[in-house]
Amino acid sequence: MRTPRKHALALAAAAILTVSACAGTPASSTAPSEAPSAAAPSAAPASESPSAEPSQQAYKLAAVLANLSDPFWATIACSAKAEATTLGVDLKLYTSPSSDDNAIAQNFNAAVLENPQGILVTPFNNNQFATQYKDLMAKGVPVVTGNGTDPQVEYKNIFSGGDTSVLAEKVLPLIPEGAGTMVYLGGAPGIPPLESRTLPFTEAVAKARPDLKQLPNDYSGFDVNKSTSNVNALILANPDLKLIIASNGPDGQAAAAAVKQSGKAGKIALIAFDAVPAEVDALKDGTISALIAQAPGTLGQEQIKALVDYLNANPTGGAVATAGKQEVSSGLLTKDNLDDPANAVYIYKAGC
């Protein structure tokens, strides 16, 4: 009696693991089928403005994206897929739910094994694949990145603009008058893309408001519960706290909960980076004063467009040369401009 039951359990466990393994990388399994296959198979002359019209070739592209549990990255993946559909190319996504370098490397290797004609890669360790990029580019495969190498070896680095200091002036009216304190919630230390985007803004605000004493930076490790507790403590310890700058979605969500809990909404200006759904809700109800959001939809779109543009312009192949960087600027969202259609690109989507 025990043996058949054990066999049944083993089979059930195997089935669950198989299903979960397939479900773990949903984008990679669905993307190929979602990409159109109706594009003309024959070669066509390169267009003058190639990406304006659907591509004449069903180029085989790959995108290696990580941290898909973050709406920012999920939105990039969605917009990349949508742009591929628009341009009539075959895009296969290789995604991982975390920012683990090893998982990204496995996905990158899997993508390269399938010999794509162009590849979009966004590792969290910028120079992780610099050598492989060189090999691919020598073989005529353009590489576009979201986090660029230094010195640049990829074809193009299309990234979110770091100079958010220009937005500081616009948020100054939202910060209560008078001397007090301010604090920066940094998520985790040592993340260059995050710091280069958020610290210039913080420094610009501190410069414009010298009467606000900066408290030591707080790092929660992106743990929402820990961050909520920390912000509660900061509010309690610093009754003159006038400004909280949250550098990321989890800290923004946590700070909003803490400000609401302490009944200080409106008395403390909360400026948060990113525009995840919870932050957008808090902006609507007035707990968050303003959001500084990247444009992930534009990023994914531009990155795929750059690959297709290159392939259309270079039908004969040959080694790929680097072509510089392209910056996509961030935007400032407030309760008043949130519904403006022009700002839709700054709102991170929960799904495609």
Binding site: R5, K6, L9, A13, I16, L17, S20, A23, G24, P26, L68, S69, D70, P71, A74, P97, P189, L215, P216, N217, D218, Y219, F222, D223, V224, N225, K226, T228, S229, N230, N232, A233, L234, L236, A237, P250, Q253, A254, A257, K260, Q261, S262, V276, P277, A278, V280, D281, A282, K284, D285, Y348, K349, A350, G351, C352
Partner: protein
């Protein structure tokens, strides 16, 4: 209690030891022998220190204690579930995934009542939506626990490996159901009436729920046969089986209990933030086991300290909160938290050695 009643019968010819002249040990002395007491005292010392060094002694204020109670609510529920499992000699690495998945399912059910997708003000009847969301959340947690229990008890797979697998599966399913993004736009009343609600303007509702669960489990462990049997399974599973205890049923019931507690924590999480928090629970299992073990529950099974678990869970929260209030930098906070947790265990170890020498 005399040895005649409880002591071992060495031989028929040997008279039982007459301990009538021994003075019964005072209650306080007995209490001080427990690890829970040491951790409680450490908490008291920490509160005194943070009160002394905080500006205007704000650490010792109602608002501070409210924040602490909210902070400890979720961790306590998870630690209680894990304490019960540890008592029976099994482990659960998947409680964080269970919390996240349950909250996602609950949030999805609530969101399905929106008249306008993504609009938190468009609920026709937020009360019904929240109630059904709560039921779905708890049912998901129980189902998750049931699956864990069947794999461990019926499949006879090591609990560490089994829950390592369900940790991945649960996290993946949560991402699939949520679309990889936090489910937001919950009715504002959820946060106002539950997550951030102060009963009588004093005690956070999440803390009352957690303490209610603690009280029930304390009664179960201290006075009911169920608690005794759970600990006997942890002491010696083979002996428990030989004594006729339906071990497999007990293990399944324990994993379901831990699953329900995790889902309750998940619903508190949802109500506290007004949205799910997919990324905030990666270390929940480790934090829960730390709280349970520091509080006196035996890692190897056989003994559950319910009250100790409360002090263990509170220790981490008090420490973190106090260090921020004291203005200690984030990097030093990590070091300080590690040291104090180590100190808690060393103090208990030193006390145990003193007791050994005194015998």
């Amino acid at each position: 209690m005399s040895a005649a009643a409880s002591g071992p019968v060495v031989g028929a010819s040997m008279p039982p030891a007459d301990d009538r002249a021994r003075v019964p040990e005072p209650l306080l002395a007995r209490w001080l022998r427990t690890r829970a007491a040491w951790v409680f005292l450490l908490n008291v010392v920490l509160i005194a220190v943070f009160t002394a060094i905080s500006r205007d002694h704000v650490f010792f204020s109602l608002q501070s204690f409210q924040s602490l109670m909210i902070g400890v609510s979720e961790g306590l529920l998870l630690a209680l579930g894990l304490s019960m499992l540890l008592g029976a000699g099994i482990f659960d690495l998947s409680i964080g995934a269970n919390l996240v998945l349950s909250s996602v399912v609950g949030a999805k059910v609530i969101a399905s009542f929106q008249a306008v997708s993504g609009d938190p003000t468009s609920y026709a009847d937020p009360g019904v939506a929240i109630l059904l969301g709560f039921v779905a959340c708890i049912a998901m947690g129980a189902l998750f626990g049931l699956i864990n229990g069947l794999i461990i008890a019926v499949g006879e797979i090591n609990s560490l490996i089994a829950t390592l697998a369900t940790l991945g599966i649960g996290t993946g399913v949560a991402f699939l159901v949520s679309g990889g993004s936090d489910v937001a736009a919950m009715p504002p009343v959820l946060q106002e009436r539950l997550g951030l609600n102060m009963v009588g303007g004093v005690v956070p509702l999440p803390a009352i729920l957690s303490l209610g669960a603690l009280l029930i489990l304390w009664i179960v462990v201290r006075y009911l046969r169920y608690g005794l049997r759970v600990q006997s399974i942890g002491s010696s599973r083979a002996a428990a089986e030989r004594a006729g205890i339906p071990v497999k049923s007990y293990l399944v019931s324990l994993t379901v209990l831990a699953g329900v507690l995790a889902s309750l924590a998940g619903f508190i999480d949802l109500s506290k933030f007004g949205s799910t928090s997919l990324a905030g629970h990666n270390n929940d299992a480790l934090a829960a086991v730390t709280a349970a073990v520091i509080g006196g529950t035996l890692l190897e099974g056989g003994y559950i300290s319910v009250v100790g678990t409360l002090w263990g869970a509170a220790l981490a929260v008090i420490l973190q909160f106090g260090l921020v209030i004291a203005g200690v930098s984030s990097f030093w906070q990590l070091i300080a938290v590690g040291f104090v947790l180590l100190l808690a265990v060393l103090l208990d170890r030193a006390a145990a050695q003193r007791r050994e020498r005194a015998r």
